[in-house]
Amino acid sequence: MEKILTKKSFSKWVKKLESYKIYAPVKNDDLWNYEIIDIPESIQPDYPNTVLSPKKIIFPQREIFLEFKASNEEGLEVKEILPEERPAIIFGVRPCDARALTLTDNVFKGDFEDPYYWKRRNQTILIGLTCNIPPSFDCFCLSVGGSPHSKDGLDILMTDLEDKYYIESLTKKGNQLINLAKDCFEEPKVMDKKDLEKIQANSEIQIKRQIKDIKKIPKKLKGMFDTPFWDKESLSCIQCGICTYLCPTCHCFDINDEVASSAPLKGKRVRTWDNCQFPDFTMHSSGHNPRPDKASRLRQRILHKFQYFVELYENFQCVGCGRCISKCPVGIDIIEVLDKVRDYGL
């Protein structure tokens, strides 16, 4: 379904969506982040990219799995905690971030379906926004199979045509939202469609950064596990967790029991994000650490994204949002690293 929504009608539409939990990018000091919105007028879809992607809503950094309590009759009383049942809408999702969710979907389905992830995923509607201008200097979505107007993973894609939005509804869920406020929308004219095509084509030209011949990289990486390449590339790495925590596709987690009291035993089982760049990520309880240094940890990050994931799911585990480049404290540039990988003489 394709529609036109004037900017004036935008908040009118959002008001009709009251029954949903609405997230949108909010600026706090100089930082954009997704937050729950109460006042529809406060949604400003015009923003640079958020620090954290919508990953933090679908796959929150802390998720309570269950509560446990020692009890006389049953030994241990266990209560499952599932995410709150309430449909949510995320406004202003960048196409790369939506694509990222289609990649993490692969991980959380398969032999075991993760009920926590899917509960949130299924009840969340993603409304995307075309990146007319790249939200970051380090965007490279085109190189990894995305685009500034990619529709993957989205329910609705909005494109800013100055005084109005071109609305492309892509799923049933998207259609439902539009049908809730039919009178807010108009039918697109031929001119609008032309404007849309122009803007979308132009948006691609604006992406300046790219990885050439990326198709060669997975194969190349296969032979590079034991090379000194990683020692050199990781020299400046300080082993913080920014690249992975901010990545919209990174999904590793840890599960811990947070014990509130040991007698009587009481506590929660909690899942939190974990990070392959931390020393205790691979620490065995024997004291042995198979990834003992930063070279092996940087290698893991690159190999997971550009070799292992490709072998498993036929897709790079990277959507080119550029967060890991812009926010790296020491300027490690994944594009440069991959360029070097491609040109590395074995």
Partner: protein, 343 residues
């Protein structure tokens, strides 16, 4: 500003003569304006070295890596490592020497005086340019930065985009060096804790509100810890890597291991982490401001360390990073230390 040619000349000389095994300095990044750390091994690579207002990093952090790497090597190269330092960074070297973490003979210090200026705050610059990309930033020796963007050049008063720490700097001149670039220029600084007073003057509840809001943002990426040259503990309190396990360790014992901080990024846990860091850096932090610069969530972490710096000065007349022979703040005492708070 010091000319990069002078630095290159010396760097080339010490590499050619084999005086150092490599030099840690700054080079241009591949993705924009800000410089990145460079590890220069051969005289030919010296050409990559740069020196400009984007050289923000405190490179002494890599001396910690160097020490660890050397400890793992069977036949380590015993030559010193060359390192480029600004005034603030040089104070970190003093603390590392004071704590006997590094030895003087293992480093060759190329000290650069910031003279009348300092380094940029990238976030301030981005804001100033309204999101436009800067290609180049130069200092005009008259308290202005000349910023080149695609639209041309513009002049910005230095104070507007200098890093906060530079505005409160007390060591624009390297306090330790083997070779020195630039002149010692005295800077006027009427109040080194000025930025702190804004928070201190708030009421107790407002202060709590401020810190809760700030630390609730923390995603525990530990970039503040990772970038800090003083955070060199083998095991950090938030990690659980060194818990000794033998064949006899029972599951019960493993489960009962002390876990000071949960992994969950909740208010209470974030506070414990940041408290520990602040206290552990008391009398050691030399205000290079790196923790605050790298924070992806823009938490003003520098204030926590600055507060400790202020208290060390006011309560114990202690200044970190000027004298490698003074005992460290919490491993010494004076009879007349204040005790009016004790019952």
């Amino acid at each position: 500003m010091v000319k990069v040619e002078d630095i290159k000349k010396e760097a080339k000389r010490i590499l050619k003569e084999g005086k150092v095994k490599y030099i840690i300095g700054y080079k241009k990044s591949t993705n924009g304006l800000m410089s990145v750390p460079a590890f220069i091994e051969s005289p030919e690579d010296v050409e990559n070295l740069i020196w400009d207002p984007t050289c923000v990093y405190n490179l002494t952090r890599f001396l910690v890596d160097e020490k660890r790497r050397k400890a793992r090597e069977k036949n380590p190269d015993e030559r010193p490592v060359g390192i480029v330092v600004k005034g603030c960074d040089s104070r970190a070297i003093i603390v590392l020497l004071q704590e006997k973490f590094i030895n003087r003979e293992n480093i060759y210090v190329l000290g650069i005086s910031c003279e009348t200026t300092g380094v940029l705050d990238e976030k301030k610059l981005l804001k100033k340019l309204n999101g436009k990309k800067a290609e180049k930033v130069e200092y005009d020796e008259k308290d202005n930065f000349i910023i080149t963007t695609l639209d041309g050049k513009s002049k910005v008063p230095a104070d507007e985009i200098l890093a906060e720490r530079c505005l409160e700097c007390r060591a624009n001149f390297p306090v330790i060096n083997d070779i020195l670039f630039g002149e010692k220029v005295d800077r006027k600084l009427d109040n080194r804790f000025k930025s702190l007073e804004k928070i201190e003057s708030l009421s107790k509840e407002k202060r709590w509100g401020f810190w809760k809001e700030q630390l609730d943002k923390c995603i525990r990426c530990y970039a503040c810890r990772s970038v800090c040259p003083m955070c060199y503990c083998d095991e950090c309190v938030v990690d659980t890597i060194n818990f000794a396990v033998t064949a006899d360790t029972t599951a019960e014992e493993k489960a009962q291991r002390i876990k000071w901080v949960e992994k969950s990024p909740t208010t209470s846990e974030n506070f414990v982490y940041h408290f520990v860091r602040a206290i552990h850096l008391a009398g050691r932090c030399i205000d290079c401001g790196e923790c605050e610069r790298v924070c992806p969530m823009d938490i003003p972490l520098r204030f926590l360390n600055k507060k400790m710096e202020k208290e060390a000065k006011e309560l114990f007349d202690y200044d970190a990073g000027f004298d490698p022979d003074q005992p460290s703040l919490v491993s010494c005492f004076k009879d007349e230390d204040p005790e009016d708070f004790i019952r």
